[in-house]
């Protein structure tokens, strides 16, 4: 069915892709629940991240893919398009934007395996090419919806520099003992499950995840009490404590969905 529509109509993307995969109905079924959209997006972005890892993507391209996805659905109603198809196209587009080119074949393979665990790779027949076409066509749609603005400033670079600066100020043994950088990195990656990246500045998100990471392990920045300026304000002048708390709160909110959604 999806193959037919894809083969005949190159223009409209509705319904293509999802119907081939089992995930679509479940995702749509979730629409009736509380905070439905966030849940759908959580699921789909988790798919993006898992597929990204399996595709060997680095953190930044994955972050770009998630941002493209979230930005798309800021503009477009969730009902209009199959979120998983948008996700696949986002992955593909993000690979191009971040110079880590992916092949549609790999995206289709990984996605197919994700939706049908343990299944054999698809044969490279006409159905496969229809799927491929739908991803490529959808990529154009996404580009148009985003007005071709697909290059983003991610918090990753900032976070890493902050970590280096902090590392030099902290006692080296307490730094070695505490997995601050790994935790901050994980928190930052996970933050893309929600639309944080669209609502806050990259620097603020970077500081917030660092703040949370330090708090989790009870690490204090030395001589913070005596300092004229708190460390987080050094990194970003326009940042306030409430903003940090807001971001942290949002981030923790995202994690609550982790246990709720299988």
């Amino acid at each position: 069915m999806a193959g037919g529509s894809g083969a005949s109509g190159r223009g409209p993307m509705e319904g293509i892709g999802l119907d081939c995969y089992g995930g679509g109905d479940a995702a749509r079924g979730a629409l009736g629940w509380a905070a439905p959209e966030a849940r759908v997006h959580f699921r789909v972005t988790r798919f993006i991240m898992e597929a990204g890892v399996k595709l060997g993507m680095q953190s930044i391209p994955i972050a770009t893919a998630c941002t493209i996805y979230h930005k798309f659905f800021c503009e477009i109603n969730l009902d209009a398009y199959d979120p998983y198809l948008i996700a696949m196209s986002s992955l593909y587009l993000a690979g191009k934007v971040e110079e880590q080119h992916l092949r549609t074949r790999d995206i289709i393979n990984v996605s197919n395996r994700y939706f049908h665990p343990g299944s054999e790779p698809l044969e490279l027949d006409s159905r496969f090419w229809v799927l491929r076409d739908s991803i490529v066509q959808c990529e154009l749609l996404v580009l148009r919806v985003l007005r071709f603005q697909v290059s983003f400033q991610h918090p990753h670079k900032y976070l890493l520099h902050y970590l280096i600066s902090l590392k030099n100020w902290l006692n080296r043994y307490s730094w070695q003992r505490t997995p601050i950088s790994v935790t901050a990195w994980a928190l930052l990656r996970d933050s893309y499950h929600g639309g944080l990246c669209l609502r806050f500045r990259a620097q603020h998100i970077a500081v917030a995840v660092l703040h949370l990471a330090l708090q989790v392990y009870g690490v204090e920045v030395p001589a913070e009490a005596e300092a004229e300026k708190p460390w987080w304000q050094v990194f970003s002048d326009d940042l306030t404590k409430p903003t940090i708390d807001n971001i942290v709160c949002n981030l923790i909110q995202i994690y609550t969905m982790d246990t709720e959604i299988p």
Binding site: E123, Y217, W231, V234
Partner: protein, 771 residues
């Protein structure tokens, strides 16, 4: 579970986290035991201290504590650690790899007192410090530290920290004199920390590299220029001159920040592994991802199956004779999946059929390398090696041939063909040595004579043959007989030493040669034979029969899997067999054909061969396919032939093989049957008609037959003669004959009947022989 880390966190967050942890991680056995002990310590003195100090911070912490307690199993897991704890700090941080920033404390504007305190807390032996010499004494020199060269990067330039470099730690620069005379006040010195007195805040440094840890030992200590000062210090100096610069501005304007590789570089520096990315989401624990689900694994799998599909298509092409298409498919398959064993085997088989034995061997060997247990690859490789060995034998490269046989035997010790071939080769090599000696003697004798008479002899021979032909026509003997004669003559003339092989030929190729015509032909050929026999001894040996046999063996093997390589031959056989053999054989021949999907290909092939009258016999075809082995024909080790014949009669159970043998006698007289024959199945008639097309059937047939005979005759003669200069002459004669026969195409109609009779006769004989 990292106890220290958990304790640290509990100390910070206080008892509320503890209770949360207890309720959240109730099911986790690691935590249950741990929290007990942690609770005790938390109730003790450390509990009060942090609580008082940070009371005001507790307010917004509830959410964070809930988060910690929920994710505690991940956060405090021992595996949740940077893989490379301290990346080597040797790299004097390059401006381009990342944005090197002034120290954080400079931005935070921390009072000097605290900085100094923290410096003496954090400085370690083996760290590199950089300072200016403030005074030189007889026991050493003092320096004021301005920055750090390794370990921690701190802003210490205003802290007035002095360090002593004692005399014994100053290397002397000349053989005599005071080493300190080399240094002046104000010099910038790089030195390693040797001793720290944290309480009195005193430092001792050394200029010997032995004071540095191993990974820093390459760094040069001593006087440095101001350009060699670390980048962070220079940035920090810049910042001091313009304290309004913000961290963000400095960072963003730095070249390193826009470096596309900055993330990767810093990830390495911080020990974060991107190939196994961390996540606190339960669904994204990459350790739970199966390797099979990764893109590369899936692609590999998909490519393998795609390649296999191509191989299948290729095999199908092969079955209908589209060898070029088949080759393209195989190559495509190998492009998709370089190591695809099936594609390699199939391509090897195709190469083998096409006669490119070396390429075939390469493919088979590669296939075996990738999959040492591949049975077909092994089998085909053995076959091809033996065949190639046979070729080499013909080319007189006996040692090479031997190595090929041996290789085949190494692969498969039970492979009989290789063993036989090897034994034969050994025997032959021995014999040929003896013969060569004899030949040398004889050559001496005949040398002079031969030169004179060789042309004459040929002329005589040609005359003889012409005469024979005429006689034949006159006596209305069948062409099969005459061709039989020719084969006799050829075989007898070519036979090296005699009658065994001669007999063999008779049996195999020309049963009908027992007719009266034989003697004269034989006589003439024998005459020639005598004069020439010796001349051809050294030529390497192979017989058409042995070769065919090999081919067929190969065929049989190949057919088992892809049923391809034999097609062409089979097609040939089939369009001949029905004509040469009588009805008894026809049924199973057709039975085989009808179940064979390649049936229609056969007729195609037949058409092609019949329309081109010069299409050689199978017999000849093999010769031509075997790279000009014409000269080798005349030289044959009879034991080989015998061997093959013997084995054949023993082993020939398979129907196909059977008519392969039957085909052999028939090859020279396949016109003995005609469409008129009542035995002939209607199907075959149809087929035959098909390829005869609209032309006058019988007439064409006869002409065809004659021309074919002549051609073969010519060919065989060529083999016999092996004197190149004579070939054109011969050809001339034959073309004459050819045209002659073209004129005389109206042979009496009853000739066909005679053919039939002869066919029946032969068949009987064949049956007898079989029995």
């Amino acid at each position: 579970m990292d106890r220290d880390l958990l304790r640290q966190s509990l100390n910070y967050h206080g008892p509320s986290l503890l209770s949360l942890l207890r309720s959240e991680q109730l099911d986790n056995p690691h935590f249950r035991s741990l929290l007990g002990s942690a609770a005790e310590s938390a109730r003790g003195p450390p509990l009060q201290q942090p609580l008082q100090a940070r009371k005001e911070k507790r307010v917004d912490n509830v959410e964070v504590q809930k988060f910690i307690s929920k994710k505690a199993d991940l956060l405090f897991a021992l595996s949740w650690k940077p893989d490379a704890p301290a990346a080597s700090e040797v790299n004097e941080d390059n401006e381009d790899s990342y944005a090197v920033m002034p120290p954080l404390e400079q931005f935070m504007e921390i009072p000097s007192m605290d900085r100094r305190e923290l410096f003496f807390r954090d400085i370690e032996r083996g760290d590199i410090v950089i300072g200016r010499i403030s005074s030189i004494r007889e026991f050493g020199f003092f320096m004021v530290l301005i920055c750090l060269g390794s370990g921690i990067m701190r802003d210490i330039s205003h802290l007035e920290i002095t360090a002593l470099c004692p005399l014994r730690d100053v290397p002397s620069h000349s053989n005599h004199g005071d080493p300190l005379s080399y240094y002046q006040t104000g010099d910038i010195i790089r030195a390693g920390i040797k001793d720290i007195d944290r309480y009195h805040e005193k430092l001792a440094v050394s200029l010997y590299n032995s004071s540095l840890p191993p990974h820093l030992s390459g760094i040069k200590l001593g006087v440095i220029s101001s350009e060699e000062l670390p980048l962070y210090y220079r940035r920090s100096v810049e910042l001091n001159s313009n304290s309004l610069e913000s961290y963000d501005n400095i960072m963003q304007s730095s070249l390193g920040f826009v470096n596309p590789g900055v993330v990767e570089f810093l990830l390495g520096k911080l020990g974060i592994d991107e190939s196994n990315p961390p996540s606190l989401m339960r669904g994204l624990q990459s350790k739970n991802f199966s390797e099979d689900d990764f893109a590369s694994a899936l692609r590999k799998k998909q490519s393998a199956s795609w390649a296999l599909k191509c191989v299948k298509i290729g095999v199908d092409y092969f079955k209908v004779g589209r060898h070029v298409d088949a080759m393209n498919e195989y190559n495509k398959a190998l492009e998709i999946d370089k190591q695809n064993v099936e594609a390699l085997v199939a391509r090897g088989a195709l190469y083998a059929t096409k006669g490119s034995l070396n390429k075939a061997i390469e493919d088979f060997e590669l296939a075996l390398e990738n999959c040492p247990t591949h049975r077909n690859a092994r089998k085909y490789l053995c076959q091809t090696l033996v065949e190639r060995g046979g070729q080499l034998e013909e080319e007189e490269k006996f040692l090479n041939a031997e190595s090929y046989y041996k290789k085949a035997l190494d692969l498969d010790g039970t492979f009989k063909d290789a063993e036989d071939a090897l034994q034969k080769l050994h025997k032959y090599m021995q014999k040929s040595l003896e013969l060569r000696e004899k030949q040398a003697e004889k050559e001496e004798k005949q040398k002079t004579k031969k030169i004179e008479t060789s042309a004459e002899k040929l002329r005589k021979l040609l005359k003889e043959e012409k005469r024979l032909k005429k006689k034949r026509r006159k006596s209305t003997s069948s062409s099969s007989v005459s061709s039989g004669d020719e084969s006799v003559s050829s075989s007898s003339s070519s036979s090296s030493s005699g009658h065994k092989r001669h007999k063999k030929h008779k049996r195999n190729r020309s049963e009908s040669s027992r007719s009266s015509k034989r003697h004269s032909a034989k006589a003439s050929s024998n005459q020639i034979d005598e004069t020439r026999k010796d001349e051809y001894f050294p030529v390497p040996a192979n017989t058409s029969a042995s070769f065919l046999n090999q081919r067929q063996e190969m065929e049989k093997l190949l057919e088992k899997q892809d049923r391809v390589p034999s097609e062409k031959k089979q097609a040939k056989e089939k369009d001949r067999c029905p004509f040469s053999s009588s009805s008894v054989e026809i049924p199973d021949d057709f039975g085989g054909r009808s179940e064979d999907p390649r049936g229609f290909y056969n007729t195609d092939k037949t058409q092609a061969s019949s329309s081109k009258t010069e299409k050689p016999y199978k017999y000849e075809r093999h010769f031509s396919s075997r790279r000009d082995s014409s000269d080798s024909f005349s030289k044959n080790p009879e034991d080989k032939l015998k061997n093959y014949g013997y084995r054949k009669s023993e082993k020939d159970i398979e129907g196909r093989k059977e008519h392969h043998r039957k085909w052999e006698p028939g090859s020279v007289r396949y016109y003995s049957t005609s469409p008129a024959s009542s035995d002939y199945s209607s199907k075959s008639v149809e087929k035959y008609k098909k390829y005869s097309g609209s032309r006058d059937f019988s007439r064409h047939e006869q002409r065809y037959q004659l021309s074919k005979n002549h051609r073969e005759y010519g060919r065989e003669d060529n083999y016999e003669e092996d004197i190149k200069t004579e070939v054109p002459e011969k050809d001339e004669v034959h073309s004459k004959e050819h045209s002659e026969s073209g004129v005389k195409k109206n042979l009496p109609q009853n000739l066909l009947n005679i053919f039939n009779q002869i066919a029946a006769f032969e068949k009987e004989k064949g049956n007898k022989q079989k029995n």
